[in-house]
């Protein structure tokens, strides 16, 4: 009896101990997620002690969230994503090298492209190969794809037409997200060079790059076979609705086109006629890496799961369901792959592909190229200047990214400064403190009432604030992720030395001022109009509040769509009612910035309107009656009564509104697609975000955000003081 009890206990304990939960973060497309869940469910059934939790994050967010959580010492056991995330992750040492767990035999079963190496170690095992660009054509419009660029232009011209004879083009020969460097660099190969050398250096100041810039421009301006403004969504929508004969897009888009019932074919991006070379799409992989924080206890089941997820069977399942090209060489021989027509074509495209670089420097290259390339396309730079500057900027950004600032004498000062300041605060605060204690007894009720809220607010804000303060005097960056140290005030120096700070600051001030001006004037104006007996007053009031109620992340994107040069509602309205020529809202710096401002005005005026409405209703009617008796006109009443009486109501709203607008990252980020064109639409906060999360310059970003804080603090104190002074006048 005793034995059985022990046995049961043992089994129970065993089962308890073995119950493992494995977290997997991924960025799979919607349809792929379904397959992944099925695969994991099947795995859980076979291994009842394992539970797999899947978490989806969009690619960029996956990267930044994983960085944050790995830093905090946690995070998922497995992370799945594109190969280029290996660069930063490996540099930050937040993923484990896989060589210590798997032998050469294991890696040998995969396409070498899917075994991602950096600095001599293996960091990721891919379950697919692809992610490459190709020419996708609508077979109904174009039976055969063009073989070279001459044909591309010829076919393109034939397919670009104005079907209803209104002088506007309805169908385009070619569409693609051509302003994005990823969608441009294949052409560099076609012109005979490559944007990145084997020693991981940018190679952008080349005659071939200049040729490439000119070529894309000529497709748009000279041959007119691509729309003037064409981001990914526009291109995709045109192709899906049969209004574009060809699109350059990746393998991920096939499912979308199948759903849209487009009969499409796949071909290589056409041969460049001048050089007889094929453009080289970047071929990457997506795969699994292991978090460096995985505990010893969990490592075995994690490895087991990784092995399963990259196995032939699982890969074939993805092939069957979502047309993924397996990385497993055995799986490639399976009939599921061999008989798949799309994959066969895709493999043919891949033959001219080049591997996607994984080093972190690639981000700097993309960034520098994007800025100059968009400036060239917008006509603000010659191709020659663009090529030169993109090379120079890429080199500069790589230098900044890899720079490890050394501590100088200031570091010692800072280390002493903190405790000294603390002591000083104690000494000088003593008097205040004793007064406080005395006051505490007298006003205990007040403290009792005020304390919980203040405690909550400060608990949340204090630690992050000091953390940032510390980071801002440190060399925290990509290369020092695991061991940063206090270095001194260099980051602040960099902030103030760079011209870009002053440009962006000026734009931010302009942004805030224009927005506030319109928020307040529009808000007050509408409130005055609506604050009288009107038919359907309540309905109007409710409808006007709607911009505030619908989540910003969708309305901001809608506005971006409305600003499109050819298809956007705004240009259509402008050309109809004011006979204006279409404005290039999204591809010219000033216009793009205006687009952001317009969107934000729309989002912000309801708040001010509601506040002003409330203020209006509290103005005693007798004042107006008295004014009327004195013979004041409506206009005079507005200036002499309404506005002054609204002032005390509006001041706090304006103060907070200014701060919120100054720090409003959403609109700029969504409407201008993260600062496009050419990083010309940034305000300070979006610039900070980019420095921290895209370029890994945490120290610099923290210093800049401290500067933002100080600017607002000075403004706030000044403004409040000023308005308080005016308050007492009344």
């Amino acid at each position: 009896m005793k034995k059985i009890a022990i046995l049961i206990l043992l089994i129970f304990a065993e089962a308890q101990a073995e119950q493992v939960k494995i977290n997997l973060w991924h960025q799979m497309l919607y349809s792929n997620r379904v397959v992944l869940r099925e695969v994991c469910d099947a795995y859980e059934k076979q291994n009842p002690n394992v539970k797999i939790q899947l978490t989806y994050r969009e690619t960029e967010e996956l990267r930044s969230n994983f960085q944050s959580s790995a830093m905090g010492g946690s995070g998922p056991e497995l992370i799945y994503g594109p190969s280029d995330q290996v660069g930063p992750f490996a540099s930050m040492e937040i993923i484990k090298p896989l060589d210590e767990f798997f032998d050469a035999e294991f890696f040998k079963q995969f396409d070498p492209n899917a075994v991602v190496k950096l600095n001599g170690k293996t960091w990721m095992v891919g379950d697919m190969v692809g992610n490459h660009l190709m020419l996708i054509y609508n077979k109904e419009l174009l039976p055969n794809p063009p073989q070279n660029t001459d044909e591309l232009i010829e076919f393109g011209k034939n397919q670009t037409k104005d079907t209803d004879g209104d002088g506007k083009i309805d169908n385009y020969g070619l569409v693609w997200n051509f302003t994005e460097p990823f969608f441009y660099v294949p052409w560099l190969g076609g012109f005979g060079s490559w944007f990145f050398t084997e020693t991981n250096q940018p190679n952008l100041n080349t005659p071939q790059n200049i040729e490439g810039f000119k070529f894309i421009k000529s497709l748009r301006d000279e041959h007119k076979i691509v729309p003037k403004e064409c981001d990914y969504e526009v291109a995709n929508a045109l192709f899906k609705s049969g209004k574009a004969a060809m699109i350059i897009n990746g393998d991920w888009s096939w499912g979308d086109y199948t759903d849209a019932k487009i009969d499409f074919g796949i071909a290589r991006i056409p041969l460049v006629s001048q050089t007889s070379l094929y453009p080289n799409p970047l071929v990457g992989t997506k795969g699994y890496s292991i978090n460096s924080n995985v505990s010893d206890k969990k490592i075995k089941p994690t490895l087991d799961l990784l092995r399963h997820l990259t196995s032939k069977e699982v890969q074939l399942k993805f092939t069957e369901k979502v047309n993924l090209m397996p990385s497993n060489l055995e799986a490639r021989k399976d009939s599921l792959v061999l008989k798949n027509e799309i994959l066969r074509q895709s493999a043919f495209v891949m033959e001219v592909g080049k591997p996607m670089p994984v080093v972190p420097e690639i981000r700097a290259v993309w960034d520098a190229l994007r800025t100059q390339y968009q400036a060239v396309l917008g006509g603000n730079r010659t191709p020659e200047e663009g090529a030169k500057l993109s090379q120079a900027n890429a080199e500069k950004q790589i230098r900044e990214m890899n720079e490890i600032l050394k501590p100088n004498e200031q570091a010692t000062v800072i280390k002493w400064l903190f405790p000294v300041l603390f002591l000083l605060a104690l000494v000088f605060g003593k008097r205040h403190f004793t007064e406080f204690l005395r006051d505490l007894k007298k006003n205990s009720f007040a403290y009792f009432m005020a304390f919980p809220a203040f405690f909550g607010i400060f608990a949340v804000i204090v630690y992050p604030f000091f953390y940032n303060l510390l980071i801002s005097v440190s060399n925290f960056s990509l290369r020092t992720f695991q061991g940063w140290e206090v270095i001194g005030f260099q980051n602040y120096l960099t902030v103030f030395q760079e011209d870009v700070f002053y440009t962006v600051l000026w734009k931010t001030v302009l942004w805030t001022a224009v927005n506030l001006l319109f928020h307040v004037s529009l808000g007050v104006f509408l409130a005055v109009l609506i604050n009288r007996t009107l038919p359907a007053k309540k309905i109007l009031r409710t409808l006007l509040i709607i911009p505030w109620a619908v989540p910003q992340y969708i309305t901001a994107l809608t506005w971006r769509g409305m600003f499109n040069q050819e298809y956007g509602a705004i240009n259509l309205a402008l050309s109809k009612f004011f006979a204006m020529t279409p404005v290039q809202w999204l591809s010219q710096p000033f216009e793009a910035f205006s687009a952001c401002v317009v969107t934000n005005i729309w989002l912000g005026f309801p708040f001010m309107m509601v506040i002003a409405l409330g203020g209006l209703q509290s103005i005693p009617q007798e004042l107006y009656e008295a004014a009327r008796v004195d013979g004041a006109t409506k206009w005079q009443q507005f200036w002499k009564i309404t506005l002054p009486m609204l002032k005390p109501v509006m001041i706090p709203a304006i103060t907070l509104g200014t701060i919120w607008t100054f720090n409003n990252i959403n609109v700029v980020w969504l409407v201008s697609n993260a600062g496009e064109p050419s990083d010309q639409t940034h305000i300070l906060v979006s610039y900070v975000y980019k420095a921290a999360f895209n370029l890994y310059r945490y120290g610099y970003a923290a210093a800049l955000s401290m500067v933002i804080f100080l600017i607002l603090l000075v403004f706030g104190v000044f403004f409040l003081r000023k308005t308080k002074a005016t308050d007492s006048v009344y």
Partner: protein, 306 residues
């Protein structure tokens, strides 16, 4: 009298046109949610198609007509390629209801916390002169000044040290605190307009300080409390960035997190996304409508002294 009437109708027409222009982007979102081809831009493309005949027939009509036309355009699309499929999928095939429930729970707690803390703290700031009051008032505002994106990393570090990742508690604390400063200011302003004599007489009748506040002042402040509740509600209902850092278990997702999962780089489920966003904004709009009466008086009466 006649002039007044024309003026009224002029203003009404202007406001109607302006309102239609204002809700046009939202109509766009509705359009996307009704499209069957899951494309973000289609609506504007459809606009092109139907645009031309309109110009011929009504060339010189006002903007008002144009907006109406857009409505008809919507209707036309309804007959052709539109459907409620996105909404159906949203409720049947995704965990939308679970997310909604999670969001509701969190928002409820945040709103209650916000109301309790802001009403008490605002009262203290309004009625008492205590040490550190000025400092407190100003520092409330300064908390709004730091770029929120830079707070994420430290937020995460501290929450994971406290074991609050994947828990609602962490989220609730952060949400409550972010909404509080505005609410406290707001409450304080409102209390300022209520004469102190009210409590004094209550105290003479033997009320304790707290019950004077609780029984006399609080009921009088209903409009301001409603605003506080509404702001706390807004702060948590559609917040995404912090939630994305704190919540990783899909079972715990809030609405904005769930919605974002329809969005993938280069392959967004636009139909579902738009439908979801619309459903998310329904409670907010309903609240606004229901509370409009208080909204107008509560938000600002407070700040007007005398």
């Amino acid at each position: 009298m006649k002039i007044k009437n024309t003026e009224k109708w002029l203003i009404f027409t202007f406001l109607s046109v302006f309102t239609l222009a204002t809700i046009y982007p939202v109509l766009n979102v509705i359009g996307i949610s009704l499209r069957t081809d899951n494309a973000f831009q289609s609506k504007s493309l459809a606009f092109v198609e139907f645009d031309e005949p309109f110009e011929d027939t009504n060339g010189n009509k006002t903007r008002d007509e144009n907006e109406k036309f857009t409505d008809e355009n919507n209707n036309q699309k309804w007959d052709e390629g539109s459907s409620l499929k996105s909404f159906e999928t949203l409720f049947t095939e995704t965990s939308f209801l679970l997310w909604a429930w999670n969001s509701f729970l969190i928002t409820l707690v945040v709103t209650l916390t916000g109301v309790v803390l802001a009403s008490t703290c605002g009262y203290a700031l309004s009625r008492f002169n205590f040490k550190g009051k000025q400092f407190g008032m100003v520092s409330l505002m300064t908390t709004q000044m730091f770029p929120a994106t830079m707070l994420l990393l430290p937020f995460f570090i501290i929450l994971s040290k406290l074991g609050l990742i994947n828990s609602y508690l962490g989220l609730i604390i952060i949400y409550s605190s972010t909404a509080l400063p505005f609410c406290i200011w707001q409450m304080k302003g409102y209390y300022d307009t209520i004469p102190q004599a009210l409590e004094e007489s209550a105290r003479l009748d033997g009320c304790s300080r707290f019950s004077a506040f609780y029984k006399i002042i609080l009921p009088l402040s209903a409009p301001a409390l409603v605003i506080t509740a509404l702001f706390s509600f807004m702060a948590s209902w559609s917040e995404y960035v912090v939630a994305a850092v704190v919540l990783q278990d899909p079972e715990l997702y809030t609405l904005p997190l769930g919605l974002k999962s329809f969005q993938a780089s280069l392959a967004t489920q636009w139909g579902l996304y738009a439908a979801g966003a619309l459903v998310v904004s329904v409670p907010v709009t309903v609240l606004f409508v229901a509370l409009a009466k208080y909204l107008v008086s509560g938000l600002t009466l407070g700040s007007v002294k005398g």
